[in-house]
Structure formats: C-alpha cells, structure tokens
C-alpha cells in the first residue's frame, strides 16, 4: 500500500480549521490584554447552539449565524467579568467554560433526552474528489479570508492599533483618548465569535450531529498555539497546521502495517509532543502583551 500523502494533507487542513478559527479568536483577545480561558466553553456553545439551530431550521447558515451570536454573548459575559468587574482572568475564564458546557449539556438533555443522535443539516464539502481541495466551506474561509483579513486589520487599521494599544499600555491608550473598556469588550466579543464559529465547524461541517464533550480540549490547544505563534496571525496559522499535520499523520501511521508495532499511546501523544517540543524551542523568551492578565482601572 502506498502511503496516502494527499489524504494526510487534506486531513491536515480539516483538523486545523477549528483550531485556526478559535486560536485567531484567542489571539484577538490576548492582543487586547485578556487571556480568555472561556475558549473551550465558547467553542462548545458555538457547536451546540449552531447544531440546535440547524436541527430546528434545517439551515446550516442560520446555525452558523446563531453560533456567532452565542460567541458574542459569551464574549460579553467575559467582558462583564474581566473588564467591568475586574475579576481574575483565569477564574472568570474557567468559570465561563464550566458554565457554558454545563448549560449546553443540560439543554441537550432537556431537549433530546438520551435518545439517538439527531442529524442536523450540515455544510457539504466543496470540490469533492479533488484531493486536498475537497474541504468544507469554513476551511476555505478560515485560510483564504479570515487569516489575511485579520492580519491586515491588526496591522493596518485603527481598530487593530487601538487593540494593540490597550493590550500593551492601557494607561497610555486612555491618555490618548482610546476607550479602553469599549475596545476590550469589542475584542472579547469578536474573538469569542470566532471561537464559536470554530466550535460550530465540528457540528455543522464535520459531523452534522452533537455529542457531549464534542470539543474535547481543542480550546486548550488553541491557547498554546497563540503563545507558540507569539500573538501573530501567520505563525498561529502555521502552528495550527503543524498540529493538524502531526495529528493526521499519526492517524494514518497507526493503521499503516509498517508502523503497527509502534505503541498506540506513543502515536496518539505524537502531535502533543511535537507542539510541546516546538514550544520548548520557540516558546522561550516570549514577550507577552504588556497588559496581559491585568484589568485596567484609572488611577
């Protein structure tokens, strides 16, 4: 059997897609000085709310729309906790994740009891049969629209510069007349909306159904990817691709006769080992945003 390299590359893009959406969302938050550990719950809420809408309306685009709304709401909640109330960001984020996951699981049980999985209307792959290009629409949007546009916005627009200013030095930003709280709210809501879209990729594109624990820690991987990418758009995208590639590779190697003697646990750990190794090499001496983890209060 020839090794199916094209299939591994196609799987790389698919696996990386939710990571790109959510990690770029986290990047926006952290550029504004806020570590959003609500990411896992926000992805979960996006996955569930998007699925729920697609099941009821039969329209995955509406599902995507409500996932965005769920993300905006999750971002506003994080804003209330960390910007308005100045709560410790770790506590606020973990609390948001716990709350959102539990609320979704609870609603899921109320609506669907414990019966069989409901199938939702979902996005079809574009260009089926065209190898690496046979991907879901949100994969194309992630790599061809989201990443370049965000790169440009952060680099060249007033919003991008204001974001940078409140994340590096909110006192100076405030003195320059930039509304710190409002900018941070905007960053949280926009970033959380991207996270929710990333979560909804799992239900609305990949699976067409929802099961508990559907995000399975992908949010935490994104937190690591943002540090790996040093808060820059293209390195974060590259990190997501690296993780996607190693994951796709281990899935393929595990069933390749030549490698079937390698312990399964080692192969499954492979992507994580690569990311940890990459962090160890490039993740030292990282310069965090100046106002990272710090709520802003006028003196």
């Amino acid at each position: 059997m020839d090794f199916p390299l094209l299939a591994v590359l196609a799987a790389t893009l698919t696996i990386a897609t939710p990571l790109v959406w959510a990690a770029l969302g986290a990047l926006i938050n952290e550029r504004a000085g806020i570590l959003n550990l609500g990411i896992e719950g926000t992805m979960y809420a996006g996955a569930f709310v998007g699925f729920l809408t697609a099941v009821t309306t039969g329209n995955p685009y509406l599902g995507l729309g409500t996932a965005v709304v769920a993300g905006l709401a999750a971002g506003a909640l994080m804003g209330l906790l960390t910007v308005t109330l100045g709560v410790n960001q770790h506590v606020a984020g973990i609390g948001t994740t716990l709350l959102l996951v539990a609320a979704c699981d609870f609603t899921n049980r109320l609506l669907f009891a414990t019966g069989t999985q409901q199938a939702a209307a979902s996005f079809e792959r574009w260009f089926p049969g065209l190898g690496v290009l046979a991907q879901y629409p949100m994969t194309f949007v992630a790599f061809l629209v989201l990443a370049p546009v965000l790169w440009w916005v952060l680099r060249s627009t007033g919003f991008g510069l204001r974001l940078h200013a409140v994340g590096e030095n909110p006192e100076a930003a405030d003195a320059a007349g930039i509304p710190v709280a409002r900018t941070r709210y905007a960053a949280l809501m926009l970033g959380s909306a991207l996270m929710a879209v990333g979560g909804s990729f799992l239900t609305l594109s990949l699976l067409g159904s929802f099961t508990l624990d559907i995000v399975s820690g992908r949010g935490w991987i994104c937190i690591a990817l943002v540090i790996f990418g040093r808060w820059k758009v293209w390195p974060v995208v590259a990190g997501a691709l690296l993780f996607g590639f190693t994951d796709a590779l281990q899935l393929q190697l595990a069933i390749t006769p030549m490698f079937s003697g390698v312990p399964n646990e080692l192969l499954i750990a492979f992507p994580y080992l690569v990311v940890i190794a990459a962090l160890a090499v490039w993740g030292r001496k990282v310069r965090y945003p100046g106002a990272y983890l710090t709520p802003y209060r006028r003196a």
Binding site: L99, A102, T116, S216, A254
Partner: protein, 374 residues
Amino acid sequence: MIHGFRPRSMPTRSATSSSYSSSFRRLGRGVASLALACAVLVTVAACGGTTGEEASTGADGGESGLPLVFGAFATPLEEPWDGAIHAALESAAEDGLIEYQHVDNLATADEMESGLRDIIANQEPDIIIGDAFAAEDAVRAVAADFPDIAFAFGSGGEEQAPNFSVFDNWMQDPAYLAGMTAGGLTESGTIGVVAAMPIPEVNRIVNAFIAGAQETNSSATVTVSFINSFFDPATAKQAAEAAIAGGADVLFAERAGVIAAAEENGLPVFGMMVDQQAEAPEHVVSSLLWDMRPTVEAIVESVEDGSYEAANLGEFSFMINGGSSLAPFNTETAFEVPADLISSVEARQAEILAGEFETPVDEEAPAGSTTVGE
C-alpha cells in the same frame, strides 16, 4: 466571632470621594464573586447529575411493592454504554417490573462513593445497578458495608461475596456476525475499525469482528484505529477518513463519528450499542445491540425470591441469552448486500442461538493493521 477580626473604622466624611470609589470597587468585586458563585452553582447542579424520576410513581419505594432499583452511572447517560443500562432499566420500569430512579455523571471515585452512600441513606433501594470501571475499589467498599442491598455493576473484575455482582457488555457474538458481513461486503479487501481504546471490553469486540471477517474473506485486511477517548467524534471521523485513505471500503463504528465519514464517502458501515440506521439510512448495514434487560430481570427475580447472591452475570449479555444481537439488516442501502451473504450470516446466528457455535473471546489488543489469514 472570628479571632483576629477587627471591624474597620467608619470612613470619615473628609475621605468620601476616594473611599466611595474604592468601596464601589469592592462592591463590584462582591457582585463578581456572587456571579461566579451562581455560575459554579449552576454548573454543579448541571454536572452533578440529574435525579431521574421517570416511571417512579410511588417515590417512597415501598407502596407499590416493587423493588426500588437505583441506577448509579459514572458517565452522563448520553454515553452509549451507560445509556444501554439506563434504557433497559427504564423499559423494565415501564413494564411494571421495578421502580427506577437514577443519578448519572458520578465521574470520580469520590463522587461515586458519596453518591452511593447518599442514595442508600435517603432512598433505601433494594438494588443498585451501575458501572464501576472508574471506581472499582470505592463501589466494592460501599457494597461490603451494605450486605442487604444487591449491587450489580459493570466491571472487568470478579464478583465479591455476599452481594456484589458484575456484568459486562459481552457483545462478541453480534461483533462476529457483523465481521462476517463486512468480510463479504468489502471489494478492496480492507475493512476499517475505529474504536475507543485498547481495553479488554473493546478488544474482544474488535477481535471477534476480525475473526468474523476472516470467515467470509480469508485474505481481508482489517485496520484498527484507537482514538483514546470515549467521546471525540471529530477525531473518530478523521480516523475513519484515514482508514478510507488506506483503502478501507467497509467501516465498523465502535465510536460515534465514523458513520458520518461512511455516509460522506458512500460506504457500508456497522453501528454500535443501539440501532444507528437512522443516522445514515442508506449506509448503516446493521448495528451491534446490547440489551441489559435479561441481566436486569435475572437480578430482580433473584432478589424477589430471596435467592440473590454475588455472581458474574456476564452470560446474560451473550446472544444466546438475548443480551446482545445484530440489528435487522437494512434493506434500503445504497449498495447491494448479497442475499447469500445474509443467509450465511443468519445460518451462523442460528448456530450461536442453538449453542452450536461459540464465538472465540480474545481480549488482547489488536494490531493497527491485521491481515486475517496470516
């Protein structure tokens, strides 16, 4: 009074402005803590499991004269394994055999132990049924403390006198039959299995599936992907895609997520635990079903006539005892399932049911790629 507590002096009028804003900030923090406390409460309420009262009309357990069975599950009921036990108990309650209540998501050994002690103190159940895989020692300790209550738990261990019985999902028979069907369906000669993790409960099902495939296709290759999680359908789907890229044209969905890959690629697939035909009506050929009802009935009968003792109830999950089966073949598939293949599978099934054929049980971890003849 708390030692060392000193009330702060009241702010004087001259300090109003700054102390007002700082106390406002404190208030803000207070509100935040309150909001977080609420969030945590909601979370605990939702995570800590729901006490189901379906079909338990007389909640005090004694009035109806039916034994009160309490389900104590380590995972949410949405997990297929515990879901199968729950479904059997619910159906037994609907048929008037038992009264049934349950609590789920007792995820750690501590939660399981305190949950069990709480249930026993407050509900006085006659029988407790659940799964002990994550809390083997804790559950056995509680059972030893309450010898008058019948405990029956899913477990990889042995029974424990006088009252702790064990059961397990012994589904090797339908797995073998599904493997036979898969072996007959594959044209490429490669079959892809995606399973949770290499533990005995999973291994023996996968190995029986491989043995079945060998019977109908003596040169087939079976690839086995473990996703190392009970719940990660997105990864399971990618693993299925990898199997397809490796040449598989028939899939076995030991975990959720695989059926979506089969449907997208137009391939035959076998479901697990419940009949999953509705998830891909043109592609799910059949499903391996686990029916806990015979196990439940065996426990209830022996408790009612006073003959209950600790036992290994595993055999009640065997096909010959009605504890597992292969779902009826889907007749609406997008591809043809040859009639002679179905009849040879049905012939083997008849032999299993007659006790003439015993499916081999092999709990060794299968290799990532097995060529059956070698």
